[in-house]
Symmetry: C2
Subunit: 206 residues, 2 copies
DNA sequence: AAATAATTTAAACAAATGATTAATATATTT
DNA sequence: AAATATATTAATCATTTGTTTAAATTATTT
């Protein structure tokens, strides 16, 4: 097939990319089942038929978008886990900061991933390497080197992700309970960047 | 042929209750958008038209089911928070144990609630009293009585719920990462019943 | 028992929705 | 420039899906 060339010079994105970008936004906002291909077409400013022309089906498009999301979600984590210049505690801070900035721009991302993994078990979940990403990471070695395990590494991992991610997932609830507006809530999230490493550090001490 | 006893209030479940029960199961398993009224009809063993006969619309049925879920979710918590015979630490253990047993039988419940709250903002969210449930609870008084706050009560609440709920929400992910089967994973969840109160207690100490 | 009300059923409807088609336009190659 | 390939469009299709309808069945009242 011939090489793809941008059709007009004003086009920052070609059609395929436009669709994918809009699709990611709509899928994340509405979930798979509630997403209408017509909405994707509108938001990307392309003709409805082009979705099937480029991506065969809604499901196929979804799987591609999902794969990208997962890569972005795990890729960043993987990088941090393997930074050899950071201590265990420093890594904790980086992880929290990383997801904090990610969810600030994409607040629907974590729930989207968790929901679709649970409801679309046949969806392409890039599981390969996920386990190794953790167990072969510099982070994991540091944790083991701490001596006799004061805490199960699996519990430790669960906890840091839970403390970081959950407040974003449950933000509608916590905003109500705490009577907080968006600004105040984000302020609390920022505070957690310093707090979570402290709490996590305490878990390491017996 | 023996005549069936129907349409009497002595029935184990009348039609209305059968529909509601099946609806809750399907809604929780599939989410609102992916739920088909025909599936609800099948699972409750009733005629499709009866859903609209008794509940007007799918959306209306959903709101009723959702309200029940929320009541169950918060009601149990409220009871524990106000038990005056329990210390702060004892309450922590009870809360974790409570949700642990709840999610054991209804693993889809937490994600269902969080997802639908975010995506169905017009849905009846029983927010009234949610804030007061917390701030006027015996638990909250105990927390304040601890003296100068070593931790923001809001962060404290976030953390205990995050540590308890999140591992259930993200179980498909953690099972992969940790290479755990259902039995092993549930064993870990049970361990957290003792562990979470310990970790939470550490957060109170500065 | 007859009349009335409530419940259940099968069939159908109307709108929505993912996908396709055939024609047209644009780009690339010959 | 002609021919061919690629991309885009409007219209349409075939299903799905929530809902409605009218008739039948069962329960309750008179």
């Amino acid at each position: 097939m011939a090489k793809k060339i941008v059709h007009s010079k004003e086009d920052v994105l070609n059609t395929e990319a436009k669709i994918k970008q809009a699709a990611q936004a709509v899928f994340m906002r509405k979930g798979y089942a509630a997403t209408r291909t017509r909405v994707i077409a509108e938001e990307s400013g392309i003709n409805l038929a082009l979705i099937n022309y480029y991506f065969r089906s809604k499901e196929n498009l979804f799987n591609l978008v999902m794969l990208d999301c997962m890569k972005g979600f795990i890729g960043g984590l993987k990088q941090i886990l393997n930074r050899e210049d950071l201590s265990l505690e420093e890594k904790l801070g980086e992880i929290v900061a990383h997801y904090l900035s990610m969810f600030k721009s994409q607040p629907d991302l974590p729930l989207f991933i968790l929901h679709e993994i649970r409801h679309n078990p046949n969806g392409i979940v890039n599981t390969l390497g996920m386990k190794q990403t953790l167990t072969k990471s510099h982070f994991y070695q540091q944790l083991k080197a701490e001596g006799p395990p004061k805490i199960d590494p699996m519990h430790f991992l669960m906890n840091i992700i839970a403390l970081t991610v959950f407040p974003f997932i449950a933000s509608p609830l916590f905003k109500i309970v705490g009577d907080l507006d968006d600004a105040n809530y984000m302020k609390m999230m920022n505070d957690r960047k310093k707090l979570i490493p402290i709490w996590m550090k305490q878990m390491l001490q017996k």
